[in-house]
C-alpha cells in the first residue's frame, strides 16, 4: 500500500478505526484523480465486497469531512477526497467539479468561476453550485 502512513494518520485524526476495508477505500481514492461511486469502490477493492459496509464507510468519511459528494445523478453519488487530503489537489482550498462528456468521469479541478446572480426577490440565493462539462485531456481529439 502506497499512501499507508498518510491513510493511517487520516483515520487516526478523525478517531476512525484502521480496518483493512477502510484503509483500502482511502487507498483507492488516493490512486484515482476522479470521483468514485460506491459501486466503483466495491469493484476495485480486493478485501471485503459488501456494499453495505462501503456505503456506511462513505457516509462516515463524508461526516468527518474526509470525502465530499462530487456529483450526483439518477445513477448515484460519486465521492472524492476533500482537498486537504487529496494528493491531486495541491494548490487550492477550493475546487470545481468537471464531468467529462467522453469518459463520464467526475474530476475535482482547480479553478474559479466568477459569477453574479440576478434573480427575482422571491428567492433568497445562498449558494450557487457549478458543474463544468466538456472533454478531459484524455478524451480531447
Amino acid at each position: 500500500m502506497d499512501n499507508e502512513s498518510k491513510i493511517r494518520d487520516l483515520l487516526s485524526v478523525h478517531g476512525l478505526r484502521k480496518t483493512p476495508i477502510r484503509k483500502e477505500m482511502l487507498d483507492v481514492f488516493m490512486n484515482h484523480d476522479f470521483a468514485l461511486s460506491a459501486s466503483d469502490l466495491v469493484h476495485k477493492m480486493t478485501v471485503g465486497n459488501d456494499r453495505v459496509t462501503v456505503y456506511r464507510a462513505l457516509v462516515s468519511f463524508e461526516e468527518h469531512g474526509i470525502l465530499h459528494k462530487a456529483s450526483e445523478d439518477k445513477n448515484g453519488v460519486k465521492y472524492a477526497l476533500s482537498d486537504h487530503n487529496n494528493p491531486h489537489e495541491h494548490h487550492s482550498d477550493q475546487h470545481i467539479h468537471f464531468i467529462c462528456d467522453g469518459c463520464h468521469q467526475t474530476y475535482c479541478i482547480e479553478g474559479v468561476v466568477e459569477h453574479q446572480v440576478k434573480v427575482s426577490s422571491d428567492f433568497q440565493v445562498d449558494r450557487v453550485n457549478f458543474t463544468l462539462h466538456g472533454l478531459c485531456k484524455q478524451c480531447l481529439p
Copy 2:
C-alpha cells in the same frame, strides 16, 4: 380541466395522442410552479397510476421539448414544462433552476447568472451547469 385547450394544442402540435393520462399529466404540470418527479405525478393523478406509463410519457414529452429535466439527484429526476409552454414563465426564453433548502422543491425562475470560468487547460469546458440554492418565498422566515 383548466388548461384543456392549451393542452390539446400542445399534444396536436407534436403529433401526440390526446389520451386521458397524458392530458392529466400536462394539466398537473401546468398547475404547479415547481418541478415534478415521476412519482409525484403518479400520486397526483386520478386516472391511470402505472409508473411505466408515466415514465414513458415523460421521455416522450422530453424528446418533443415539451418538458425538460429541471433537477436530478440520487432521488430521481424532476421535470418541468419548457418555458414556452409554462404559464409560470412569461417573460424570458431562459430560466434558472432554484432548489429550496426548506421545501426541497425545484423552481424554474427568471433571472441571469453571469459567469466567467478559469480552469486548467487540461479540461475543455463546453458548458456550465449551475443550480441556485437557498430559500423560496414560502420558506423565508
